[in-house]
Amino acid sequence: MAVQQVFCTIIFVVTILSNASAQDSTPSPRRQPKWCPVEVQEVKPYRVRSGSRTECRRACTWNRFCCEFNIIPVYTTAYRQVSRQEWKCCDDTVPCPDKTVSVDTPYKGIQLFADEYPVPPLPYEYDALEPYIDERTARVHHLGHHAGYTKKMNAALKAWRDEVGPGVGLQSNSILHILENLDQVPDKHRTAIRNNGGGFVNHAIYWATMSPRREGEPPRLPEATLATEIIANFQNFSNFQEQFTNTAKTLFGSGYVWLSRNPREQTLIIHTTANQDSPISDKLRPILVIDIWEHAYYLKHQNKRPDHIQDWWALVDWGQVKALSDWWAAYDAGHDEL
């Protein structure tokens, strides 16, 4: 008994030491720390219409009463419970860096290994993108399509991981790393991972790079460093926008139009992917995307894709685009605490 215990302890210590030394290098096919998503509930105030009051616009001439009213909405503050996602370390054998990762953006978490990825919540309410993207579309797009891809991706990952069994390999990595090395996924699982893993990540980037627009907001433009890069690659912002729009108008079938960084050449390029293919699989770093699948716009615009493209430009949040660009830089530099 004692001999066994000593033996086990030695094995345990050796394992921990060898793991610890491999801990801080960039993800590669070996055991990674395991993060689990945790839902955090929070009570947040919001403005809600409680009623209205009338204001006399024109008094009648033949009596003392009011003939024409303006209806002025009256707002009050209400509170609602909002849930947010955080990632906490949940595997004892491989300790995580000493941090909780907060997912304030839909794509944060794709670089972490998880048994089951949750559907990332939108960073805004479903009706917040009105009138550019209608609430109904936002709901079905997120809760129907994005959630569907997430579920099927989790099932495909599980099938693959169950088949291979415990141990290191591409399957024990994050979905981001798997998409980067899609050609190494076994044939049997590759299509499912490509379509559903792609759908999971592509939509996360789509939601993340848009934000609600306030009435009377001035036109949105990229900030200094990103603007300089766009000018360097496309001569000026107007050219870039035109090229992007034309590419989106002429893309055939279902797919996406991307602005991605080519990290090897440090250039920005506009390109397309079909269906749910991801630029990540082409070793690119996507920072802006428009979803051109008909489900992204059909309820509101029907066949008029150019109108969707125009509305989408109004929602592009260049601050978020820059944040995503910085996030990729940190990922490529090998930081775990993204």
């Binding site: 129907g144 079938g253 489900h295 059909y298």
Partner: protein, 223 residues
């Protein structure tokens, strides 16, 4: 002088005369054999109207444009442009062909069981109509992105076959199968009514499928 020019213009724009003069005829949007609302509740009138008068019409227009450009390029001997027009001809030509077949495949009097010689072929090649329905529905639902599910006739081997094509790739040019029944699974074909639930749409469409038309196509294909 002006009258002469105007007369020439009127004469030149007459389709019959153009054909006589050796100019290519333009493609036109075929009429539906039924009202936009005739396929309710399976396919809503709104979808039918958009699908026919907007989507199919756009394919027809763009096909005409592409063919004109092709003719110009051919006249100039510009092979590079001819080749570059390939994708546009495939998309829009395929779109026009596919939808022209689709409208005839559907009918307000459709649904029910297959009839005629095609029924024998279905039983022979699939065991039963139920089995065909199951397999073809599965193939149509499984199309990634935009495309079509098809029931086609393999003339060489004299058997029916199920196939799926991406985007507007035309069945015969892509696989050699002769199209008998197509199910359009582009999102525009069902989204307004069924949203993301494509399986519901594919299951429902069997209620408006015209076996008369499919049988006609089958008999014509066998000749």
């Amino acid at each position: 002088m002006l009258a002469c020019v105007k007369l020439t213009q009127r004469v030149a724009s007459h389709p019959g005369l153009l054909a006589v003069a050796g100019t290519r005829l333009k493609h036109t949007l075929p009429d539906l054999a039924y009202d936009y609302g005739a396929l309710e509740p399976t396919i809503s009138a709104e979808i039918m109207q958009l699908h026919h008068s907007k989507h199919h019409a756009t394919y027809v227009n763009n096909l005409n444009v592409a063919e004109e450009k092709l003719a110009e390029a051919q006249a100039k001997g510009d092979v590079t442009t001819e080749i570059a027009l390939g994708p546009a001809l495939k998309f829009n030509g395929g779109g026009h062909l596919n939808h022209s077949i689709f409208w005839t495949n559907l009918s307000p009097n459709g649904g029910g069981e297959p009839q005629g010689e095609v029924l024998e072929a279905i039983n022979r090649d699939f065991g039963s109509f139920e089995n065909l329905k199951k397999k073809m529905s599965a193939a149509s639902v499984a199309v990634q992105g935009s495309g079509w599910g098809w029931l086609g006739y393999d003339k060489e081997n004299n058997r029916l076959s199920i196939a799926a094509c991406a985007n507007q790739d035309p069945l015969q040019a892509t696989t050699g199968l002769i199209p008998l029944l197509g199910i359009d699974v582009w999102e525009h074909a069902y989204y307004l009514q069924y949203k993301n639930v494509r399986p519901d749409y594919v299951n429902a469409i069997w209620n408006v499928v015209s076996w008369e038309n499919i049988n006609e196509r089958f008999l014509a294909a066998k000749k």
